[in-house]
Amino acid sequence: MTAAYILRRFVSSIVVLFTVVTLVFFAVRVLSGDPVTAMLGDHATAQAVQSMRTRLGLDNPMYVQYFGYLFGLLHGDAGRSISGDIPVIQSFIEVFPFTLALALGSIVFGLLLSIPLGVLAAIKRSSLLGSSITLLSFVGVSIPSFVMAVTLLLLFGSLVPILPVMGGGDLSNIPDFLRHLILPVLSKGLITAAVLARLVRAKFLVVLGEDYMKTAAAKGLSRSRILLKHGLKAVLAEISTMAGIELAAMLGGLVLTEVVFTRPGLGKLLYTAVIERDYFTLQGGILVFCILVIGVNFLADVVCVMVDPRLQYD
């Protein structure tokens, strides 16, 4: 039953992905006017424009271009970047580890911080500790990620210059790579932690009022055992869904974090593509982000059903 559900979710993910590819292709082609004029500028000679068109295959009919693009994608070819003539896929693969480390680092940091804090805020909700956690997480969700990033930059760039504030470090040198990861992860992770802590608190408050918690207490179980075994377990499925949603929501914001810390990454690449009007990279970048979101949503659903099989009927 669970396997059938997962298969169904997988097929629908593929359909969504295909629609996204089509949508992005036509949005970029049809709505953005002529990419060649945009790239070469208004003063380009007609000859230059024509040779560029031929090189990019833009003088073919739209459907030929579209099927050509689809065929290319299925063979791992998303075109070449306009500026550097590098295969788009290659430039994404090069920066992917940086973005992956940042995204995973932030979500793990967020989870590690938010679960204990959220639970604590729910248990001690009328004490000073509980209300300060609630207040702090409320402030946290109201800070846009780039404001947080610039604040950290200001703090660690001039006042406590112990951590690198620019670049992504060297991939082959793990300690260096990790050191460069700390501030970007903090800037995303603190906000993620605030968002998740609010949700954990709300869910945990509901669970605290459930009858089975009273039953567990009446049986004479210790308080920590009740909270961990019965309380936390009940909210775990929801936390995994929330973490998935949060991870997907965070991906777009990575553009800003990567720009602030001048880190190489998918977001930075996409941003540069927009500025340089590099349409193939832009198109590829948007697709990569969508694939990540669709993948994360799929995984979150699968994890959720594994943890709590009742949810597949929703």
């Binding site: 996204v20 846009p144 610039v150 200001l154 777009g252 927009v274 832009l282």
Partner: protein, 288 residues
């Protein structure tokens, strides 16, 4: 019977109003928002200098008596630019929230109420749109359409509306099968009447809460796009872009970053407080 019901409704709404006025979050949110709206309306009276007036003698000058938040790299007053910046920020927040709410509520209502194929089609469309991270969708729309205040509003509205549709649909579906809706159906009420008289009033609370939340999301998105240089274009003052310019001079002129940053956070805090307060007041079930 009808009159008693009306009086009861009035009393109930007054009770809610009283609860809203006593709510600390509501007081905070409303006062900050009023302050910022006042700044936007009376900007020429409040701002001591023109937001465009260059004063090269005072380039990146720290806060002083005549420029209380200091000067930027062209010697323009940061405070004056912040005051004028409220205009674009509020326009974007309000207009985007209105577009999202109107379009989102209509489509969500149709999907949730009609059900069947219509619902499946709309839900599939929303799923596709929501597989774009909102920021990426915004950047894509800007890359295609170009920059400018109204294009930013479109970009953000397009990226935020799918979420509104989804939540409205859920709200509609959850009340569609209640007994009172079925009763009015059995009494022969038309679809328009059921939607207008029963469905809409029952989801209006949810929509109001979401409206405040979406305004805050829109403002974050606008400031983020501005920060990337893809939002409101210079020389018009915009908080996100001011922060970006300050970042380039971060260590010699921190005031260029600190004040716009604080204003963004303050406004988002106010809107989130309002949305939380509305939720607490309108829906006592979540009062935990």
């Amino acid at each position: 019977m009808r009159r008693t019901f009306k009086i009861y409704r009035l009393m109930r709404s007054n009770k809610r109003l009283r609860a809203f006025c006593r709510n600390k979050l509501a007081i905070f949110g409303t006062s900050v928002l009023l302050l910022i709206v006042t700044m936007a309306i009376f900007a020429p009276l409040i701002a001591p200098h023109s937001p465009y007036e260059h004063n090269y003698a005072l380039k990146i000058h720290s806060p002083s008596n005549s420029y209380i938040m200091g000067n930027d790299q062209y010697g323009r007053g940061v405070f004056s630019r912040i005051v004028y910046g409220t205009r674009s920020v509020l326009q974007i927040g309000l207009l985007t929230a209105v577009v999202s709410a109107v379009v989102g509520t209509s489509i969500g209502l149709v999907a949730g109420y009609a059900g069947g194929t219509v619902d499946r089609l709309i839900t599939a469309g929303v799923d596709v749109m929501m597989s774009f991270p909102p920021m990426i969708l915004g950047i894509m729309v800007i890359a295609i359409m170009g920059v400018g205040l109204y294009k930013v509003i479109w970009a953000i509205a397009i990226s935020l509306t799918p979420g509104f549709i989804r939540l409205t649909r859920v709200a509609v579906v959850s009340i569609k099968h209640t007994t009172f809706i079925e009763a009015s159906k059995a009494m022969g009420a038309s679809h328009i009447r059921i939607i207008g008289k029963h469905v809409l009033p029952n989801i209006s609370d949810t929509i109001l809460v979401m409206f405040a939340l979406w305004a805050s999301k829109a403002i974050i998105a606008a400031a983020s796009l501005g920060f990337l240089g893809l939002g409101v274009q210079p020389p018009d003052p915009e908080w996100g872009y001011m922060l970006r310019q300050g970042m380039e001079l971060l260590y010699c002129a921190p005031h260029m970053v600190v004040f716009p940053g604080l204003m963004i956070v303050l406004l988002i805090l106010a809107l989130n407080a309002l949305s939380d307060a509305l939720r607490d007041v309108l829906d006592p079930k979540t009062l935990t």
